[in-house]
């Protein structure tokens, strides 16, 4: 019944459907639209005010694009660039795209980068692997607080160098004071491990029941089939609701345009992962989606010199992570919230 109702954003159709459901029970009706690309934007029902707003914005961009693509004085490359910009502007939500549309947008972004910098990148749109649910375990007895993982993460995921925005935090907490992050220090700089202290790392926990996804007003973030919570940076409007909703301080916001020196850019990218971001969008750990969907471990796991970090497939009964969960004493943070993080801590 919801399929005929069209709104600007896919969330719009969900709201309409929700109203017709029993409000006491969790509503489960089909809420996603099937339109995509131009259809998602242009073939949608809206009110007059919104339509005029969108048209004005579209016209401004469009006028610019048209003027440069039809101009005789502009070079071919500039025209191609504005063609690409035009199509990118009107693309739909990545979540709703078909595989072909996903590949097209990745190709456009790759070409666009090549036109701008003259360098080639390798961007992937690889989907989840069947029979895979990623999980992570962190040994708090082993972590020594060297922060090698943070360095590896920053380099792998093309994070802004200047603002030192990082996905991973390593907290130094005094032994005996419990796991109270307010007593912890994540900016320590002294020889580690410090006497009588332990180290505990946090990042996005890829909850099975992620509150950040619930609150996103435009469905720019969602949980993939393999359990990774991802963000479409081109669909995110930067409202930071998800940042407020996350109980684990897992999400980061780009207050400025991230700057990565050209020679340090990791060219092995994924649309939902480490491709270069822009100002005003959310980002976070994606379990290095560009690596994990290739069978590799995330960069932090590979960089850890103590083996405190374990990554694996929860559906593989013989995997390391399964043995840890089933045989070690494990805990997760704020379990009482029911978020079901797929990130377990354990001790020797």
């Amino acid at each position: 019944m919801g399929n005929n109702i069209k709104k600007w954003f896919s969330i719009g159709s969900k709201r309409v459907v929700n109203e017709s459901c029993d409000s006491d029970k969790p509503c489960s009706c089909k809420s996603e639209k099937t339109n995509d690309g131009f259809d998602q934007v242009l073939n949608a029902q809206t009110d007059r005010r919104n339509a005029i707003q969108k048209l004005t914005a579209g016209l401004l961009i469009g006028a610019g694009a048209v003027s440069s693509s039809c101009s005789v004085s502009k070079s071919d490359e500039a025209k191609e660039q504005s063609d690409l910009d035009w199509e990118e502007y009107f693309k739909g939500n990545y979540k709703l795209m078909t595989d072909e549309e996903k590949q097209n947008t990745v190709d456009r972004l790759t070409r666009s980068y090549e036109l701008r910098t003259g360098k080639k990148i390798n961007m992937s749109a690889a989907g989840p692997i069947d029979d895979v649910l990623y999980g992570y375990a962190f040994n708090i007895s082993k972590c020594q607080g060297y922060m090698d993982c943070i360095n590896a993460c920053v380099e792998e995921n093309n994070q802004d160098r200047e603002s030192q925005m990082q996905y991973i935090r390593i907290h130094e907490i005094e032994k005996g004071s419990g796991i109270e992050f307010k007593n912890g220090d994540d900016t320590y700089y002294h020889e580690v491990p410090a006497a009588n202290h332990f180290y505990i790392g946090t990042q996005c926990f890829h909850c099975d029941n992620p509150p950040c996804v619930e609150v996103c007003p435009v469905q720019a973030t969602w949980k993939e089939k393999d359990g990774i919570v991802v963000i479409d940076y081109d669909w995110c409007i930067g409202c930071r609701y998800c940042m407020a909703a996350c109980p684990y301080d897992g999400r980061r916001f780009n207050w400025k345009t991230p700057e990565v020196p050209e020679e340090e850019v990791n060219k092995n990218q994924h649309y939902l992962g480490n491709r270069l971001r822009k100002q005003g969008v959310m980002e976070k750990c994606t379990f290095c989606i560009q690596r994990s969907r290739n069978g590799k471990n995330p960069a932090c796991v590979e960089a850890c010199p103590t083996g405190a970090r374990v990554f694996g497939n929860l559906l593989d009964p013989n995997s390391d992570i399964r043995w840890i969960i089933e045989n070690k004493k494990v805990f997760r943070l704020k379990e009482e919230l029911g978020t079901e993080p797929k990130f377990w801590y354990y001790m020797d």
């Binding site: 029993d22 009706c29 700089y189 990554f311 497939n313 929860l314 045989n327």
Partner: protein
């Protein structure tokens, strides 16, 4: 009118109970994992790493088989095989004033010119700088792991030969807890990735066998911005 109401109520109940998300029917993450892994098919990745490893199954435990490879060690040991230099036993060497090659051996029979470096490069430096910082004198000395009569292999506590590639068998003689965790994946490190075939770092890949403790050092980064922001607050 009443019948109409009943129908509405029944319909509402029916529709509100219908769960669209199949993942929700399990109730908890653990139940879902348990159920979905019943028909698990392994995911194989191509090995693009430069790590040379044995795919030989490491299984000392007959109850649970542990299929994973471990990196080869012999190719990483300088000037292996050891008997290229250690032609005679240490005792014999000592009696001859410490020279590996006795005057009689200086004829270099059967040695070709390209082999010179195999001894001479290490002749002076050798590995005399090794000092043992592993357990105390009562528990360990060089001979706990090395047999002077059979330098190419390690030696177990009962003087059985153990290949350098299987050095974990030496460590596990004392460190049985760590060994149990290592073979199951709670200690140590995966090398090639999470997929099959699994390759795991060995004990000596992280711990120097002569000085196994992980050292204190400085963190590899200082977050000046975070300190600045915190001080502003």
């Amino acid at each position: 009118m009443q019948r109409f109401l009943y129908i509405i109520i029944i319909l509402t109940t029916l529709f509100s109970c219908k769960t669209e998300d199949p993942e929700k029917e399990y109730g908890s993450l653990h139940k879902r994992i348990e159920h979905k892994s019943e028909h698990y098919k392994p995911f194989y990745v191509q090995n693009n790493s430069e790590i040379e490893y044995d795919t030989v199954q490491v299984a000392l435990d007959t109850v649970a088989a542990h299929h994973f490879g471990i990196p080869k060690r012999t190719s990483m040991v300088d000037s292996y095989p050891c008997n290229k230099c250690h032609a005679v036993s240490i005792d014999e060497l000592k009696s001859k004033g410490g020279n590996f090659v006795t005057p009689k051996d200086k004829a270099h029979e059967g040695v070709t010119a390209k082999d010179c470096k195999s001894c001479h490069e290490y002749l002076k430096k050798s590995h005399w700088n090794i000092s043992l910082n592993h357990a105390d004198d009562n528990a360990m000395n060089c001979a706990t792991c090395h047999n002077q009569d059979e330098m190419n292999n390690l030696s177990s506590l009962t003087n059985k030969n153990i290949n350098f590639n299987n050095s974990y068998q030496i460590c596990s003689q004392c460190h049985s807890t760590q060994f149990n965790e290592w073979k199951n994946g709670a200690h140590g490190k995966q090398l090639t990735g999470w997929g099959e075939p699994k390759v795991r770092q060995t004990c000596v890949g992280c711990h120097n066998p002569h000085d196994p403790a992980i050292k204190h050092r400085w963190p590899s980064r200082l977050n000046t911005q975070m300190i600045e922001q915190r001080d502003l607050e």
